[in-house]
Symmetry: C2
Subunit: 296 residues, 2 copies
């Protein structure tokens, strides 16, 4: 199949490579042309604009950073919408605003172009291994058409609902993860301040109802003070900004999410945006005058 892939960042590049390796023709575009070099060596076709990618593709994937980037890639002067032919599909795998996603899907549909929102989770390693979780919004028929391609990139692939539903699910995912990290930070501070080894607390909690993937993975890195990403604080900050924007539009109260979003704002403000988002532990420690550490 003729496939397009726009965005060759830390996630997009390995995702596009997995599509190439599955035997598809892949046309690529990146704002910084040098980012395409690896893929061109593997046989991808370089394009000069997003419109050109779309004009050569039955299905065009987008994986860029933020809402305005996706708007620019799709609606900009040389955007996808100016090249995409009727009946083709645009699949946005970035994490962006659910409401803007619905707008873009509407604008594409006016030209007879389908859209899916398909944000991912799992991080760089899962992108390389082709084991991403993919949360998809859009028409069920279109989902089924794209599914074999999703299966080149991910494992836990769920069709959630209409356009935007994938982004809503990703927002929910980030709400839960951010607050779970913060909750575990509080538990570790309570343990440390009480003279109890937080690593032993973690071990005991893993076996019961407090057990989670975050306690397993992030909790271990928090105790080892390994702040290497993982998932960068500035990206988690961006995702929580989207959550709080949606909460404002929808008129709902998400006080726990707001707290975690606040932590991430300060982490980034303190110049730690390239560290893992577990760096919010350092703020919790500053607030309590406690440094979490384990002897085991």
């Amino acid at each position: 199949m003729n496939i397009g892939f726009i965005g060759q960042g830390i996630m997009g590049r390995p995702m596009a490579l997995n599509l190439l390796n599955a035997g598809h023709n892949v046309s690529v575009y990146a704002r910084r042309a040098e980012m395409m070099a690896d893929l061109l060596k593997e046989g991808a076709l370089a394009c000069k604009t997003p419109a050109q990618v779309a004009s050569q593709s039955d299905i065009t994937f987008i994986c860029v950073s933020d809402t305005p980037d996706v708007e620019q890639v799709i609606m900009g002067e040389q955007g996808v919408i100016h090249g995409a032919h009727k009946g083709s599909v645009v699949v946005d795998m970035s994490t962006i605003s659910p409401s803007v996603t619905r707008q873009l899907a509407g604008q594409l549909m006016e030209r007879g172009v389908y859209m899916l929102d398909a944000p991912v989770s799992g991080g760089e390693q899962a992108a390389i291994d082709g084991t991403l979780s993919i949360m998809v919004g859009g028409e069920a028929d279109i989902f089924r058409r794209v599914l074999p391609l999703f299966e080149c990139m991910g494992k836990n692939i769920v069709h959630i609902g209409d356009n935007g539903a994938g982004q809503v699910t990703k927002a929910c995912n980030q709400v839960v993860i951010a607050q779970t990290i913060a909750a575990i930070g509080e538990a570790f501070i309570l343990a440390t301040a009480s003279g109890v080894d937080p690593a032993k607390v973690r071990q005991a909690l893993l076996g019961g109802f407090a057990g989670s993937r975050v306690l397993e993975s992030h909790g271990d890195r928090m105790l080892k003070r390994n702040f290497k990403p993982g998932f960068k604080a500035r990206l988690h900050q961006k995702d929580m900004r989207i959550v709080m924007e949606e909460a404002h539009k929808l008129g709902v109260a998400l006080p726990g999410a707001a707290m975690a979003a606040g932590y991430l704002n300060v982490v980034v403000e303190q110049g730690k945006g390239e560290q893992d988002s577990i760096s919010m532990l350092e703020l919790q420690e500053q607030a309590s005058g406690v440094t979490v550490s384990s002897k085991i």
Copy 2:
């Protein structure tokens, strides 16, 4: 071995029964004598006071509700401390204040009596099945002496540290569980307000880093609006009160725990203390004017 068991509530009764069934002599006491009937039928020996239980026992277990109850059982006029012989062990399996626990351990030690704090998690069913998680504080030698008896009642049995360390661990456990419930409530509200089925969101999240035992178990009951305990809101409220008291004594900031403690205060104030602690979802719904519901 001669064992004592004080407290025949929803947890204590099946725990004592498992010790009886393992072939031990068990002396029992309950404030309300009728609570002992089941155990007496199975061969337990009725006592008139906590002191009498301790005088007949090498190891005396306590499983009552709150800090003042344990203080009364141990230090009261007819308390354990007046009957316990030198070298015997008092094991408190209630969930109470870590700092009061350390005081009580000190007072018992002055009489040559050892203490372990060994709060449990897992709820009534795990107490019946003998599969409780048990978090233990106190001397390692004493832990090893009691371990075979813990193994009659639980499965995930961890020695954490000195006196009080078990209670600290339980407090950390409750901090994480309360906030995870609240975070999942927010995710479900965000999904519902966005027109996305929260059950599909739950399914998608279970496969990734947002996955947790709470999302599996409590999350499912939240979607089914099954507020039957499980774990009663008034007990979770009591545990979070202990957490906030410790935070005050230690001088640490636990804003997420404070938020969840506040929800539980309101749940109990609204007369829902006998419901499961997931009932805080109803407050989150009231605050946002959204009722979480799923079509699947």
